[in-house]
């Protein structure tokens, strides 16, 4: 059911890519490599190769928050000022369903079809990858600062251990935090009941009331973790390793962890779709993908990147955070697809507990 304008109303602009060699995109913080001394980042290289001037804004901290920022424009068929967003699967699905996302021109993204890893093909919300292209995948688990506290193995420890009191953060992303809690409840995040949901929520509520939780965060947890303002938290896999702080440890809770993917999508009023497609195609080149993965330490969605990694940093070739084995993937879970009513019910309940 298309919400608001969408494609039905013919809300697609003409592509100005031929005239304007620019690309405006929003992505999550700390999600791309940066120039440093002699090191030339993938993005700089892309701009050199294509002549496209990229304005890259790392302003996505939380899917819902970002959605709130753009929903009015998208709904009214107004430009958001962005040609591309990188949003998590469920949010990408919601936007595609609303008719706010442009179809990619397959001819322009040959690398996508050629190199997308099999586990990310044929997702229910975009079976042919007509609308989206994965940027990175990752896991949500526990991180802690080992200079401050001992190992934190389970979510229950995280929420109750007294040495962590007031030094724990959880993510504002409902699916990450609640997924882990459902797991610790013994429930399956991809298929759970309202009761299980309620129990999991109660756990947070209690921990919060006890003063165990210091904050609900987006990506900013990483600084506080390094600095010692927090001792342990729910974290995203790549961030911890990429922080290059030997005290910071990421580990899957004993109950298992969550997996997700972030996807590049082009909104209907994005006026530089062809440039966006060039970007997608470029990042689906295995060499580029390997270079990016070596920097951000997230799961690389590009087939052939593992081989290219050999040339860049052999020590990373077997890193399960980047190239997870089937075994490793066995302990990961996805979050149940929710219809609109359930989604907004859960989101409201979650918001009330964390806000």
């Amino acid at each position: 059911r298309g919400n608001g304008g969408g494609t039905d109303a013919g809300c697609v602009t003409t592509d100005l890519s031929d005239a304007e060699a620019v690309l405006n995109m929003s992505n999550w913080p700390e999600y791309i490599d940066e120039d440093d001394g002699d090191y030339v980042s993938t993005m700089t290289q892309f701009q050199k190769d294509t002549g496209i001037d990229v304005t890259y804004t790392p302003d996505v901290n939380d899917n819902v928050e970002f959605f709130a920022k753009v929903r009015n424009q998208l709904g009214a068929c107004q430009p958001t000022g962005r040609d591309m967003f990188v949003l998590t699967d469920w949010m990408a699905a919601r936007m595609i369903e609303a008719g706010w996302i442009q179809k990619l021109d397959k001819a322009n993204v040959p690398n996508l079809d050629k190199n997308l890893i099999s586990s990310l093909q044929g997702v229910g919300w975009d079976p042919n990858r007509d609308y989206s292209a994965p940027w990175q995948s990752g896991f949500s688990g526990i991180a802690y600062n080992k200079s401050l506290v001992g190992e934190v193995q389970t979510m229950d420890e995280l929420l109750t251990r007294s040495d962590l009191k007031g030094k724990v953060t959880l993510l504002t992303e409902m699916r990450d935090t609640m997924g882990l809690l459902l797991l610790s409840e013994g429930a399956d995040p991809s298929n759970f009941t309202d009761d299980q949901w309620g129990n999991a929520l109660e756990k947070i509520s209690k921990a919060r009331a006890d003063g165990q939780i210091r904050a609900f965060t987006g990506n900013e947890y990483i600084n506080d973790l390094a600095n010692g303002n927090i001792a342990a938290c729910v974290a995203w896999s790549g961030d911890v390793a990429a922080a290059e702080d030997e005290n910071l440890v990421f580990l899957p809770p004993q109950e298992g962890m969550m997996i997700w993917s972030d996807n590049m999508i082009v909104p209907v009023q994005g006026t530089h779709k062809a440039n966006a497609e060039k970007w997608i195609d470029y990042y689906f080149d295995p060499a580029v993908a390997a270079k990016l993965a070596a920097y951000v330490w997230y799961v690389c969605p590009v087939e052939g990147a593992q081989a290219e990694m050999e040339k860049i940093d052999p020590s990373l070739v077997d890193n399960p955070l980047i190239f997870p084995t089937a075994d490793y993937l066995a302990q990961t879970h996805g979050f149940m697809a929710l219809d609109e009513a359930k989604a907004s019910q859960y989101e409201k309940e979650y918001a009330d507990v964390i806000g």
Partner: protein, 273 residues
């Protein structure tokens, strides 16, 4: 008692006052210090690592920061201009004229100052959305909002200056053959000007600094405070401290420079003859 001790005893209030002032400057001091922090080595942004000029030499390095600064300054200047003009006119009406609805107007002018920003910002957002402008949120809606909340402050500032103006001066001017227009431009305006200037400065700082109302009505437009807010999520780039310090020094420079200039001018003219 030591000499310092007795000085402090005699100047207790002044000493305490200076302490309060120092308290107000603790963050500014840290901001200035951090603007010289070399953060390239480690991503830990909470500690002073080592000294560098780099941040000052490349203030615009962080993606989007200077763009957001440009947006903030444009909005600041535009809203200052419009609010100052509209507000000054209103102040004149309120001080110089007795008209029906004057007290209502006084109330309407007071209200925005008595309304929490979150309420003002959200009501404006509700209006924009209800009026079908939800999609147009951005530069113009922010500008409109800023003008709105600056007007009251301008009126209050200019009004008090105007009320203190000796009305005999205008009468004297008209006695000396100045018509209404000349009286305004040669006497009233120059005398009220310091008040207008103060109002403009206040407007600019309020607009430049605003986050709450802006955040609600900006859509995807990013102002400097919004950039900082967003950047706080990933660790504020040290260049933000450069901009913070720079703006502060600029303001201080303008005010103190203006003061010195006017003093020197008064002095210079007196000794010129």
């Amino acid at each position: 008692m030591t000499r310092l001790g007795s000085w402090i005893g005699k100047h207790l209030m002044l000493t305490l006052g200076i302490l309060v002032l120092l308290y107000m400057y603790i963050p500014n001091f840290i901001v200035a210090l951090m603007s010289f922090n070399d953060s390239s080595e480690s991503r830990n942004l909470y500690q002073f690592q080592s000294f560098t000029w780099d941040n000052w030499l490349n203030p615009c390095e962080p993606q989007g920061m200077c763009e957001s600064l440009r947006v903030s300054i444009s909005i600041g200047l535009l809203s200052t201009l419009v609010a100052t003009i509209i507000g000054t006119l209103a102040a004149f009406a309120l001080v110089r004229h007795r008209f029906e609805g004057r007290s209502t107007m006084n109330l309407v002018l007071f209200l925005p100052m008595a309304t929490p920003e979150i309420v003002m910002g959200s009501s404006l957002l509700a209006l924009f959305v209800a009026a079908g402008f939800g999609g147009q949120l951005g530069f113009w809606t922010v500008l409109i909002a800023h003008i709105m909340f600056c007007i009251s402050f301008v009126v209050v500032t200019v009004r008090s200056r105007l009320a203190g103006l000796d009305s005999n001066l205008e009468k004297a001017a008209s006695d000396l053959y100045a018509n209404e227009w000349q009286t305004f431009w040669r006497i009233t305006f120059p005398l009220v000007f310091p008040g207008i200037l103060a109002a403009a400065l206040l407007s600019f700082s309020l607009s430049f600094d605003d986050f709450i109302i802006t955040n609600l009505n900006s859509g995807t437009t990013v102002t400097f405070p919004m950039f900082v807010w967003g950047a706080a999520q990933r660790g504020v780039p040290m260049q933000v401290n450069v901009i913070g310090t720079l703006m502060f020094l600029l303001a201080l420079g303008i005010v103190i420079g203006g003061e010195l200039l006017s003093r020197r001018r008064a002095h210079g003219k007196a000794s010129a003859l």
